[in-house]
Amino acid sequence: MAGLARFFGGRLIKAVAILFAIVVMNFLLVHAAPGDPATVMAGEAGAGDAQFVAQLREQFGLDRPLVVQLGTYIGHVSTGDLGFSYRQQKPVWELLVQRLPATLVLTASAFALALVLGIGLGTLAAVHAGTLRDGAITVLALLAYATPIYWIGLMLILLFSVRLGWLPAFGYETVGAGLTGIAHLADIAKHMVLPVATLGLFYMAVYARLTRASIQEVRDMDFVKTARAKGLRESTVVFRHILRNAILPVITVAGVQAGQLIGGSILIETVFAWPGIGRLAFEAVLQRDYQVLLGIFFISSVMVIVFNIVTDLIYSLIDPRIDLAS
C-alpha cells in the first residue's frame, strides 16, 4: 500500500506541474488570437459603437494587462473556479457540467462497444489466422480505420435516416415529445444508435487490429507452449494465458484514447448535432469564448492525466509483475 501512496503522490505532483504549464500556455495561445469576445458580441449585436465595446471590455476585465489577467485566471483555477462566460452569462463550470453527461453517455457507450467488439473480433481473427474469417475481419478493421469518422456518420445518416427512415439523424432526444420514464430512455437510446455506432466503429477497428497483432506475437511464446504442453483446454489457453498478456498494448492505447475522447467528439457531435462538450468546444472557438475554451482545455487535460493513471493501475492488476512505484 505504501507503494501505491508513493505512486499517487508522485503522479499528483507531476500532474499539477503539467497542468500549470498547460494553463499558462493555453491562456497565452488563446489571447494571441485577433479579436476578443467584446468584438464578437458587438458584431453579433448588429451595432456597436466604441463605448459599447469599451464597456464590454471593462466588464470582462479585458482592459487590464495580460499578466494581471493571467494571474487572476490561475488564482481562480487553483481554487476550482474555471471562470465565468459572459457570452452565456453562466459560470464555465456549470456549462461544462451541463454538457458533460451527453458526451460521456455517447463516448462511454461507443468506447465500451468498441472494446468488447474490437477485442472479440481481434481474438477471433487471430485464433483463425489465415482463414476467410480472419481476412474479412482484417479488411473490415482496415477500412473502418482508414475512413474519416464524419463521413461514416454521414453515410449512416444517408442510409438509416434518409433512405430507410429507421433512426433519427440528429439530436439527443425527440424535441417536444414530452416523454417520460422508459419511453424517454428508449427515445434517447434510439438517438444514440447512429452516433455510437459511428464513433465505436473507428475505435473498434483500432482494438481489433491491435488485439490480433498482439495475440499473434504472444501465442508462440514459451509460457503458452508450456500451458499447451500441460494439456489445458484451448479456450483456457486463449483466455487465461494469451489474451491476458496480449491485452496490455490494447489497454495502453485505450487509456490514451479515453483521455482524448473529448477531441474526437467534436466531429461526431457536429455531424449528429449532439449537445455535448465537443460542440461546446467548437462553438467556443468560433465565438472566442475564452473562459469556456480554457475550461474545456483544462478538464480535457485533466482527463488525459486521470486516464494515464487509471491505465497504469489496470496494468498492475492484470500483470502483477509491474511495480507501480518504480
Partner: protein
Amino acid sequence: MRSKTFWQAYARNKAARFGLVIMILVVVLGLFAGVLFPASPWDMVNAPFLPPLSDGALLGTDTLGRDIAAGIAYGARVSLLIGMTSTAVAVVVGVTLGALAGFFGGWVDDALMRFTELFQTIPNFVLTVVLVAIFTPSQRSIISAIAIVSWPPLARLARAEFMSLRSREFVQAAMTTGQSNMAIIFREILPNSLSPLIVSASLMVATAVLLESSLSFLGLGDPNAMSWGYMIGSARTVIRQAWWMSFFPGLAILLTVLALNLIGEGLNDALNPRLSRQGKA
C-alpha cells in the same frame, strides 16, 4: 539494406502492393489534374445538382454546378501536399528533439520529455482546431497545426532508438576516437534508427491526411484550395438532395488513407521484420 532485398520483402505483402498501386494512382491524379480538368475546380461548368454519369459530369456536380470529379483530382494535390509537408515538419521537429533527449540524457532528456508530455496531454484534435482557428485557416497554418500535434510520438520513438543505439559498441567506438557529437548523431546513430522512423512517418502521413480533411470538414480549411474534406463539409447539408457530393470525396479519402496504411505496414514488414506492429495511436 540493399534495394533488391527490400523490394522482395515489400512485394511479398500483397496488401502493400495494392496500397502502392492506389497511391501511385492518387499521385498521378493529383499531378495531372490540370491536364485532365483544364478548368479550375471552382468554375461553374455545368448545371447544379447533376447526378453522377450525367453529360460532362462523370461524378455529378455540386450546388453551384462545379464538377465533383475535377474537385477530387485537385483535392488530391491538397491532401497529399499537406499530408507530406506536415509530416516532414513533424519528423524534423520530433526527431531532433528525440535525438537530443536520447543522446544527451540527463537534464536535457528530462526537460525535453516534460515538454513532449505537455503536448501529449492536451487533446490533439482540440489543439489543432484551436490553432487553425486562431491563426486563420491557410495552408501554412494547417500544416503547422498538424505538425505541432504530430511530433511527440516521433520524438519518443527517436529518443528510444537513440538511447539504445548510444550504448552499442560501434557508437562507443566512435566516441573514443573523438568524433564530434554531431558527427556521431548524423553518421552513426541516425542511419541505424531510420527504419522505424520511416515506418512511423509513412503512417503519420495517413493521419495527417485525415486531420486535414477533418479540419476542412469543419470549415477550417484553406478557402482557396479545393480539398476533399471541404467538399464533404459543404455537401453535408445537402445530403438529402445530393448523396454523390459527399460520397465520392469520402471514397477518395478512404482509398488514400487505406493505401498509406497498407504501404506503412509493407514498409514495416520489409524494414523491421521483427518489430511488433504497435499501432499508431
